[in-house]
């Protein structure tokens, strides 16, 4: 090998390689540039562009602006967005988001709030997942990789928020943007398919239509974002803060 290399004309080979690389770079630049510009204009992430830890996506739920009906709007929007249907067996049906009615037994004060995956900074579900199927994206969204989920359901035991469901049945009418499969675990994706193209989660969108300001979605790390400004003004509640999971879903008024 060494002999062959030294006996050839290395300078000639290098030059031709350089030409090829230059040409390839030029073609790539010409082809990709308009696409990048378009995406930048839409303020969204390009397909294939990795997420970064410059963002931490979160949701602030203002329960003072929410009633049972508003919560139900959020639940319906989620079910419709992700094609979650009922089978007649409530215990086995998936619920990515649910209306939680809470009441203080000492004072009688009551609230309703939407409860879903809290997209923890330190998610117990991802800690215990044997294959790494449950994982936290670097921008804070906790997901299940349906391709490597073996359906052991250990994450469901570990989640302090009861946020996960198991697909007990075949999925009827699956949505392409919301991959699910029988025998695997599923939960709120914070509508990652929307977020990655600059949108907001379906529940937030639906709630704000009926009760503006009841759910605020945004980047907790962007000081100029509405959510970051709001959480810097008011004391928010993190559900089971004692567990130190540091949820990305925050509550106001409970």
């Amino acid at each position: 090998m060494t002999k062959d290399r030294s006996s050839g004309d290395p300078s000639g080979i290098d030059r031709s390689r350089r030409h090829v690389l230059k040409a390839a770079t030029a073609i790539a630049a010409v082809t990709l540039a308009p696409g990048w510009q378009l995406i930048a204009a839409a303020e969204a992430k390009a397909p294939g562009e990795p997420v970064t830890d410059k963002n931490r996506w979160g949701i602030l739920v203002d329960t003072t602006k929410m009633d049972k009906a508003t919560c139900d709007v959020a639940v319906d929007a989620c079910n419709s967005e992700h094609g979650l249907t009922k089978s007649g067996h409530p215990g086995q049906d998936p619920q990515w988001i649910r209306r939680l009615d809470i009441r203080d037994p000492q004072t009688g004060a009551a609230h309703s709030l939407p409860m879903m995956c809290q997209h923890c900074q330190y998610p117990p579900c991802a800690d215990v997942c044997p294959t790494g199927a449950s994982f936290r994206r670097i921008d804070g969204i906790v997901l299940v990789d349906k391709h490597i989920c073996i359906g052991c359901r250990y994450c469901m035991l570990a989640c302090p928020y009861k946020a996960r469901s198991f697909a007990y049945r075949d999925i009827e009418d699956p949505k392409p943007h919301s991959p699910r499969g029988r025998g695997t675990v599923q939960s709120c994706t914070m509508c990652v398919h929307r977020v990655d193209v600059g949108g907001i989660p379906a529940c937030v969108e639906a709630c704000n239509d009926v009760a503006p300001g009841s759910m605020i979605f945004g980047d907790l790390k962007d000081p100029e974002s509405e959510i970051a400004k709001r959480v810097s003004e008011v004391v928010v509640k993190r559900v089971r803060a004692d567990l130190g999971t540091d949820p990305g879903v925050l509550y106001l008024g409970v």
Partner: protein
């Protein structure tokens, strides 16, 4: 003490084949149940999003814990140098191997996607206590296999002790991890406790020893090989100590929770208000699973009765299944505390005790795991020299003195060991 001779069981009799056939039927029923669940989807089980682990996990984890404990007899022989246990070390190792295989088979067949076993073997999240367990199980198989080999091949005899020592440490670590499967789950009121790991270890001693005695009594009873009282008496006493220790740990667990106001809810649930779980705890785990076996083992009128010991073992195993049921299903049925001090309700059954009614398929799958273990043992003793030809006192007991010598020493010694005459 005479030389211990190991010999395969003949295994040509009709009753041997009937035994194998009977076990095979249960085994196939278990596999059929797993196939049925896989074919239709897990909705045919009694499990739900509230109780995602049910009867199959109860059996699986019970067998895995028992597997670790079944190695006791070998450990006491190899590690602690008790000569009387050494002839039984091979059976102890084989049973540990088989119980582990049975437990893991259930665990795999109960996966939502058992076809993705290869994924579980190639994608590891090393922060997962489940992965720690998987690795402990795999090495456990290898260590037990090496241990058995070293014990059976005289050329490797000198390695038996160090391997036995390693196996002893390894299975303590293994059962610590199995206890951590629950002990590390901070979300669950019933589980989040350091005591889970040592409690699982002590329970493994009890369940494993009970399994071992049962298999030993069956094997020697059915083959007609002599089994002396010295061996049985020691195992019986060992079992009684382990059952007491398991009871102690259970008491410590609940008394600790009963002290802290935060845990009053779950303690009241398990001990008083949990319906089926309370019943299974007091009746299954405590009364039938511990107190009654202790009575059978210790009541003077029955002391030494093989039948009483056999029944005691069966009840200890029943207690083990009860304990796993209360721990796993009871722990899941008790609602998560999302807002401490508040009443919560939802369409997802928040704030409610979840109901779980196991399906027949789940029960068959669980029992099928035991059948896998028993089938392995029954088959292997026919092909490998696992069982000594005799475990009579004069063979097994290093302190045995022949009756003639005893009668020379005086009538008192003979009276103390009338069975030796």
């Amino acid at each position: 003490m005479n030389r211990v001779v190991f010999r395969e069981v003949e295994g040509r009799s009709g009753s041997y084949y009937a035994l194998l056939g009977g076990i095979a039927v249960v085994l196939l029923a278990g596999l059929g149940a797993a196939f049925y669940i896989e074919l239709h989807g897990q909705y045919v089980t009694g499990m739900s999003n509230q109780v995602p682990w049910g009867i199959p996990h109860v059996f699986a984890i019970f067998l895995i814990v028992a597997a670790s404990g079944a190695l006791n007899v070998a450990s006491v022989g190899s590690v602690f140098g008790r000569i009387i246990y050494k002839p039984m070390a091979r059976l102890s190792g084989l049973l540990a191997f088989a119980l582990m295989a049975g437990g893991l088979a259930i665990l795999v067949l109960d996966l939502g996607r058992p076809d993705r076993l290869i994924v579980a073997m190639t994608h590891y999240n090393f922060k997962s206590v489940f992965v720690w367990n998987i690795n402990f199980y795999m090495v456990f198989f290898a260590v037990i296999a090496a241990y058995l080999w070293a014990m059976m091949d005289w050329r490797l005899d000198r390695y038996a002790k160090p391997i036995g020592f390693f196996a002893f440490v390894w299975r303590l670590a293994l059962t610590t991890c199995t206890g951590w499967v629950f002990g590390l789950i901070v979300a669950r009121q019933a589980w989040d406790a350091a005591v889970m790991a040592p409690m699982f270890i002590i329970m493994s001693f009890a369940y494993g020893t009970a399994f071992f005695i049962l298999v030993l009594l069956a094997a020697y009873g059915w083959t007609g090989r002599p089994l002396g009282d010295a061996v049985v008496r020691r195992l019986k006493n060992l079992l009684a100590i382990f059952v007491c220790a398991a009871l102690y740990f259970t008491a410590v667990q609940h008394l600790t929770n009963a002290y802290a106001t935060e845990h009053h809810g779950v303690t009241r649930f398990i001990l008083f208000e949990g319906g089926v779980y309370t019943a299974v705890f007091w009746l299954g785990q405590v009364l039938l699973g511990a107190v009654f076996p202790l009575f059978l083992l210790w009541y003077p009128a029955m002391a030494g009765s093989r039948q009483a010991i056999g029944f005691a073992c069966l009840f200890v195993l029943l207690g083990g299944l009860s304990q796993m049921y209360v721990t796993i299903v009871g722990g899941l049925a008790y609602p998560l505390i999302l807002f401490p001090g508040m009443e919560v309700s939802s369409s997802f059954l928040d704030g409610q005790v979840a109901s779980y009614v196991p399906s027949l398929a789940e029960i068959l799958l669980g029992i099928g795991g035991i059948a896998i273990a028993m089938f392995m043992v029954a088959l292997v003793v026919k092909f490998l020299r696992v069982l000594p030809l005799s475990l009579a006192d004069e063979v097994a007991d290093p302190h045995h003195r022949n009756p003639a010598a005893k009668s020379e020493e005086g009538a008192e010694d003979v009276a103390q060991t009338p069975q030796a005459a």
